[in-house]
């Protein structure tokens, strides 16, 4: 074998080896375990705080309110639908209670007339016609809407 071919062969082998070694060094550990991605990323995606704790967590302190909601038309609705957790104090709702400002716009998000809404099930009303000067919660208890105060 002539010298030049030997050198070419040597540099070729060197190049391939260095390439493989660098590639191995740079590829993350779990890459390619299940497919063309880092398998550890699946577990990393699971690490995140759940801000929404579910109805059981609410009922553990507010059983009375929970039973009241359960007795009326809003029974199907979860606590956190209307009381989204305040994100700054997700560990303890006593630090930052998820109080809702009970204004008409809040109720209108579900109950304002909209041709796109289904007519069955959710009651629709024109907020300009139905007691326009009053706040909804003056008459309706939001936890039991048909328990009228008037």
């Amino acid at each position: 074998m002539s010298k030049i071919i030997f050198r070419l062969f040597l540099s070729f082998v060197l190049f391939v080896t260095v390439f493989i070694l660098i590639q191995r060094a740079l590829t993350p550990d779990s890459f390619g375990k299940y497919g063309h991605y880092r398998a550890n990323s699946i577990d990393e995606n699971k690490i995140r705080t759940s801000y929404y704790k579910g109805e059981e967590a609410c009922a553990s302190c507010h059983q009375e309110l929970y039973d009241l909601v359960d007795s009326d038309l809003h029974a199907e609705i979860n606590c956190e639908s209307c009381h989204p957790p305040k994100i700054d104090a997700f560990t303890d709702c006593e630090v930052m209670p998820p109080i809702v400002e009970g204004n008409n716009d809040f109720c209108a998000a579900c109950h304002a007339t909209n041709p796109g809404r289904l007519k069955r099930g959710v009651p629709q009303l024109d907020f300009k016609e139905h007691e326009p000067d009053k706040n909804c919660i003056d008459c309706h208890n939001p936890h039991a809407p048909w328990e009228l105060t008037e």
Binding site: V13, L14, T17, I20, L21, R24, P28, F31, Y34, G35, H36, Y37, R38, S41, I42, E44, N45, K46, I47, R48, T49, S50, Y51, Y52, G54, E76, I77, N78, E80, S81, P84, P85, I87, D105, A108, A109, C110, A112, N114, P115, G116, R117, L118, G121, V122
Partner: protein, 259 residues
């Protein structure tokens, strides 16, 4: 004398480089056998059939466009509050009497959607909740140059936040517009079916808060799940079926106007 010195150095150079080369080759050849030496460290192989296959059903006839899902999603997943970053949002479709279709989604529907077209002009109107469709043949996964987005073994398209280079190719590739560039982390973010919640046995936040149960979440492999019952009871359709993405978000009552 001078030539001798050069020859000596050259010989030494070749000797050392040959030793190094041989060493590295031997090392790289032996490395695959390292795992064989400690088989007890290997994780048990996951059979795909044992895992759940997550999917979602969306009942357009039940959706009232209250925006609770979009709001809950933003809170649960730390999505920026600006009105153009959404993991899920609601669109209101209004078909006018002259056939024109108007699509509205102010702030993704948060705070309740309001109809802007006068009643007498409306032919029909409906709400369409949108989210990542969790495609089986995901265009975003094909587009990603580094393998930072992938389909997990239980069928959810996830983003590897530490591996994403932020090139935005996947945002362009997604036919459903379900991805956005997070301005804080500078990587792509998308709906993961609240992967942290579903892997703990909880429901995604949007499903949890929906007051009319317009979103049904479940395991497609579990024949007794709510989702399978929903699919059996209703004629469902996926969005953009002509793209053959085989997505796993199924819509009941999907009108042909929906894009």
């Amino acid at each position: 004398m001078g030539t001798n010195r050069i020859e000596k150095n050259r010989r030494k150079f070749f000797q050392t480089s040959a030793a190094l080369l041989g060493g590295t080759i031997v090392y790289s050849l032996l490395k695959p056998f390292e795992t064989l030496a400690q088989p007890e460290n290997e994780d048990p192989k996951i059979e795909k059939g044992d895992l759940p296959l997550w999917g979602m059903g969306v009942d357009i006839e039940s959706c009232i466009g209250c925006g609770k899902c979009a709001e809950a999603c933003k809170i649960e997943n730390d999505v920026p509050k600006e009105p153009f970053y959404f993991r899920t949002w609601i669109e209101q479709y209004t078909v006018k009497n002259d056939g024109e279709v108007k699509i509205e989604s102010p702030n993704g529907g948060i705070g309740g959607l309001k109809q802007s077209v006068p009643d007498e002009d409306i032919f029909k109107s409906f709400m369409v909740p949108k989210l990542c469709n969790q495609c089986t043949e995901a265009p975003c996964v094909q587009a990603c140059p580094v393998g930072a987005t992938f389909i997990s073994p239980d069928g959810v398209v996830l983003v590897d936040e530490t591996y994403c280079i932020g090139c935005s190719y996947c945002i362009q590739a997604c036919p459903y517009g379900a991805r956005y560039m997070n301005p804080i982390t500078q990587v792509v973010d998308k709906c993961t079916f609240c992967y942290h919640r579903i892997s703990e046995g909880l429901q995604p936040a949007c499903v949890e808060v929906c007051p009319t149960k317009a979103r049904i979440f479940g395991d497609l492999r579990d024949k007794k799940s709510d989702l399978v019952r929903f699919l059996q009871k209703n004629p469902t359709q996926v969005l953009k079926p002509h793209l053959n993405t085989h997505s796993r978000v199924f819509y009941n009552g999907l009108s042909s106007e929906v894009r």
